[in-house]
Assembly symmetry: C2
Homo-oligomer: 449 residues x 2
């Protein structure tokens, strides 16, 4: 497998409700009956902690997708993570919060609160909302354009970090005798007035234990990479092959220097959706079982929406036709279309199979094989600078997470790739990230601002 890298492999448990596979909820090992019962999430978080994962992660969308499907239900991630902070001890607690439909002051406060109540385990995946269906839930017709959304998100993060910085770490005095609770000289107004956002401050919650909760970013487009290189500390990305992952890894790490950042200050974690079996044959059988649960009209509909191109009249058993240049498509997932077309060509997939594959793993790396083979893949990607770790996306939850923890983690530990115990108590410590001091980001503001 080549010479082993310095440093630690990182693992996230991406808890996508009943699982990442579109038909996963129909599987006997899914927790669909309990998907609005916190005990289902307690069990998963505790399993991930037993497996010494760096963090659990909840995605978030601000509209109802697939009314006929389990992803219809998405409880509020901050509420879920706050609850789970009470039944876990060490594991990081991370979630998406959109900059498009939340106020910076509320966002700063919610993540500061989660960081306080969890003892420094919070992480924020910074996203911009992408779909018109979300805009419609907030009284708007459309979203701003792709590039503009990132500019707005950058300003949003500037406000939030300045609010976190509005208390010095030692601002709390709490002296009963003198009656001084906090030292006013160690509190400051941010007086932020940007192009889109303004907030006077100070925040009404002291500086988070981690300084800032860990800042996560999940866009792989050009503006997304720039954004991550400036402020990201973890990047979740969809990489379907080692070659694309290595190119992405190199590109993003190189950009860090432009902002005066060390390359270890950003961890790159592609999504990985594994289907394992005791033999390759068993794993393939389990994959087929799940794929067959996806109805053809759902597979083709999903592929059409991913490509922003209607394939409903196209023969499902033929190969994907050439898809028109997506540049003209507004607010599209631009960087994904080329990856999807490459996948279809390389593996000669029919429209139906491509749709099922994508809907199953939602554009992320899929693996089908034995626990040993999966450990090989993880080791290879890690050792050859394809990633700093993976965000594990079990196809069926909680069943496949149990299997990963019981069957794959021990192999990674035996190979010396992964921790056997938590060494620190904060998410920053798990990830090997430094604690930002007050004013941390003032040093790497965008040149354009």
């Amino acid at each position: 497998m080549g010479k082993q890298r310095q440093g630690q492999l990182h693992l996230g448990a991406f808890l996508y409700f009943t699982g990442h596979h579109h038909a996963g909820w129909r599987h006997p090992s899914s927790g669909v009956e309990q998907m609005f019962d916190i005990r289902n999430y307690t069990r998963m978080a505790q399993t991930a902690e037993k497996g010494k994962f760096d963090m659990i992660f909840f995605a978030d969308l601000l509209h109802l997708i697939y009314p006929s499907h389990a992803a219809a239900g998405m409880m509020d991630p901050i509420a879920l993570l706050s609850a789970l902070s009470m039944v876990t001890e060490k594991i990081g607690l991370t979630a998406t919060m959109s900059t498009t439909y939340n106020e910076p002051y509320n966002t700063a406060r919610k993540f500061a609160t989660l960081d306080h109540i969890s003892g420094g385990r919070a992480g924020w995946n910074i996203v911009t909302s992408q779909t018109d269906a979300e805009a419609n839930n907030y009284g708007r017709d459309k979203h701003p354009e792709h590039g503009l959304r990132y500019e707005m998100a950058q300003e949003f993060v500037d406000v939030v970090t300045e609010l976190w910085d509005s208390w010095d770490d030692d601002a709390l005095v709490m002296d009963r005798a003198s009656g001084q609770f906090a030292d006013p000289a160690k509190l400051r107004q941010s007086d932020f007035k940007g192009q889109w956002y303004a907030s006077k401050g100070p925040l009404n919650v002291p500086r988070p234990p981690q300084g800032y909760p860990v800042l996560i970013q999940a866009g792989s487009s050009g503006p997304g990479q720039d954004f991550a290189a400036r402020i990201g500390e973890v990047i979740f990305t969809a990489q379907p092959s080692l070659a694309s992952a290595q190119a992405f890894y190199k590109s993003v790490k190189a950009k860090l220097a432009e902002y005066g950042r060390d390359e270890n200050s950003l961890k790159i974690m592609p999504g990985l959706s594994p289907i394992i079996g005791s033999t390759e044959e068993e794993a393939r059988r389990r994959e087929r079982e799940l794929l067959d649960l996806i109805r053809p009209e759902e597979a083709v509909g999903f592929l059409s929406s991913m490509l922003q191109y209607d394939l409903s009249g196209y023969p499902v058993d033929e190969q994907l036709p050439d898809i028109p240049d997506p540049v003209g498509a507004s607010n599209g997932m631009k960087s994904r279309v080329q990856l999807i077309m490459d996948l279809a060509r390389n593996e000669r997939l029919s429209v139906l199979e491509l749709g099922r594959r994508l809907l199953g793993a939602r554009g992320h790396l899929q693996f089908v094989g034995t626990p040993e083979q999966l450990a090989d893949l993880i080791e290879k990607w890690f050792d050859s600078y394809g990633c700093d770790g993976f965000n594990i996306m079990p196809p069926v939850l909680p069943g496949n997470l149990d299997e990963f923890v019981d069957q794959v983690v021990p192999i990674l530990q035996k190979r010396g790739l992964f921790r056997e115990e938590y060494e620190g108590s904060t998410l920053r410590e798990h990830l090997g990230l430094g604690r930002p001091s007050v004013g941390h980001f003032k040093n790497h503001k965008l040149q354009t601002q």
Copy 2:
């Protein structure tokens, strides 16, 4: 004490961080050192549950008040309540969320999530933000005027309840065999388009277990009373005397009929801040001890801000002068000024003592005496239709909550006024409130809409 009323006394535990008394945090029994540690709140919530309280309640303000004082720190209430749902079984979990600086879709979703994860124990105190300091944290200079804010809040609640109603109670099918997760015929878009808010829906969380989380309201002004009479199920109010409480009770209950509502569908719970001692003398001594911890400049500053009238040059030992008509003051707490002036006149309080009294109890009813005397007061107010219960505001937390539960609750139970065990498992059941069906509020929309 007069003939006992039918029905049940209701109690809320208003957990205002280190206590409601301005100087409470300086007291040895305050939890100030742990005020950003969830264990402090766990202890208080479990104590209130041991005392069979209907609910705990967190206030919320969207700015930092008193940097020198413990109320500076206000963690996010939804995060706190979500965490506390994991360490309690029965008690209601309620908090303020402002309609001014939150989106209706997010608000509907957060409370629906809390209701799901707590098994039907959530309640939302609907407020409009009042201070320019809050506006400044959200990039605005000022708030809308008082009356307009209520009109906007009413529309906000209409959006939120329609989003809760966007799933029928039996919309979830979860049939693995057919692949039907939810019945699309039992989901609906709200397509709400109001004057200030719009949301298409459906919500991405199923209808809350309680139908709607309990709707709480805390304004006592004219528009506040109308708002409560239309949509409130609990009203928190500041009533400094039994006579004013009875007048308020009668007025609000009479208004319910205008909206076709039963008088039991709204519970009136004045704030009550008790200082108890084993003798009256001990209680007085404890009161004096707390008052003396309030520095004169803080007392006079607070009184000035409550009255929106600068008293800083006024002799602190003289009686309160006549305060100019507050009608001209924009965005003021209009209904409170008259109550404060009446209190000063009736009890012949100096400016300093008035300021200390108000800052101590923040305008709510104060009680100083023995547990028996406190039980007498509670019984008298309840029996003579001054209230349906009280929102208990301990001056020092957690110390005074422990005392109330250990010393006062048993007396109320012995007198048959208060439950010895929870009979139901939802907050609606504790409060004796019906479960709203889909479309509940369409029957009592404001005439003006």
